[in-house]
């Protein structure tokens, strides 16, 4: 059996996994689970649902791997699976949506945006990062599933428009328009935190 180095390219890992090497697929899971977690979590707003969906997404990707022809990157391919499965899940779920604020790490304290808010003239903002976080979560929840997906991919995960359009199988114009309307809606909800 060939050894797998940590620097193996996605193409090579996919090829090995297609040949039945489960360790190669494990490498892909390790590499992409944090990013995929971000996408699914910001779309579902629920930790347990995210975990279950992540398991289902990687299981489906493993089963479908033989069909992956490499026309797009593995990253785009698995993101497309993840987005479709999460959107389908959200259509069925129409129930609770609870955010887990305890997941917020300490990095938020030093984030440029929070520092900006801290220096804002309104003193209420300085001590109220949790309130901001709560408001952010509520604002995200107010968006439609499709709008939330583009916000999660573009604003939170930093994917370019072209890649989002490929993942969602829509035009770049549609991605831009969804983002514009989502930002407008978010602005309405977050008015008190914007200078």
């Amino acid at each position: 059996m060939s050894s797998i180095s940590a620097t193996e390219s996605d193409e090579e890992l996919v090829r090995l996994a297609q040949d039945g090497d489960t360790r190669a697929f494990d490498q892909l899971v390790v590499k992409y689970s944090p990013r995929l977690y971000g996408l699914v979590y910001h779309m579902t707003s629920h930790k347990e649902d995210t975990n279950d969906l992540m398991q289902d997404i990687f299981a489906k990707a493993y089963r479908s791997l033989k069909r992956f022809r490499g026309k797009s990157s593995f990253y785009t391919w698995i993101y497309a699976i993840g987005t479709n499965m999460t959107l389908n899940f959200l259509k069925k779920r129409k129930r609770r949506a609870t955010w887990s604020l305890d997941d917020v790490d300490s990095g938020i304290q030093n984030d440029e945006a929070v520092v900006d808010i801290g220096h804002a003239s309104n003193p209420r903002h300085q001590s109220d990062i949790n309130a901001l976080q709560k408001k952010l979560n509520e604002s995200m929840q107010a968006l439609s599933d499709d709008h939330r997906a583009v916000v999660a991919m573009f604003d939170i995960q930093g994917l370019p428009h072209a890649e989002i359009s490929q993942i969602l199988s829509v035009s770049e114009g549609t991605v831009r328009s969804r983002l514009f309307y989502a930002h407008q809606q978010l602005r309405g909800h977050l008015e008190e935190f914007l200078r």
């Binding site: 971000g38 398991q55 887990s100």
Partner: protein, 131 residues
């Protein structure tokens, strides 16, 4: 909404990047995934594995798969036509089995009905009919 306002919104939304699970989550996630994957493989029946292999092989074929599919369908239809049971009665293999027949009980007399006498031109006798 102008560009600067849009950027302000984006800046706030980007704060959500800080919502992430602890690092050990992903180690546990991989273990959970492997356990589940193995469990699924064990649960899968040999027929299921055979079906998957056939499906994978079929997907890997190019345009040949349509010809192969049509051929398999034709073979299936022909097999069904030839194997369809014909209208002939089936043979009874069990020697103890006999065809059903009516055996009247001879100990009990059958009811009789008296019909009125019919005058026939050719015959003057009265007919007593049994049922």
């Amino acid at each position: 909404m102008n560009q600067s306002q849009e950027e302000d919104v984006q800046k706030l939304i980007r704060l959500k990047r800080h919502e992430s699970p602890p690092p050990e989550y992903f180690e546990n996630f991989l273990e959970e995934f492997q356990t589940r994957q193995r469990g699924e493989l064990l649960k899968q029946s040999s027929f299921g594995l055979f079906r998957d292999r056939v499906a994978t092989w079929y997907r890997e074929q190019g345009s040949v798969k349509w010809v192969a599919g049509a051929g398999a369908a034709y073979a299936g239809v022909m097999a069904a036509v030839f194997m369809w049971p014909s209208g002939n009665p089936t043979k009874m293999d069990d020697p103890n089995m006999k065809p059903a027949s009516y055996q009247p009980n001879k100990g009990t007399p059958l009811p009789t009905v008296d019909f009125p006498k019919i005058e026939n031109s050719g015959s003057s006798s009265t007919t007593l009919r049994e049922f």
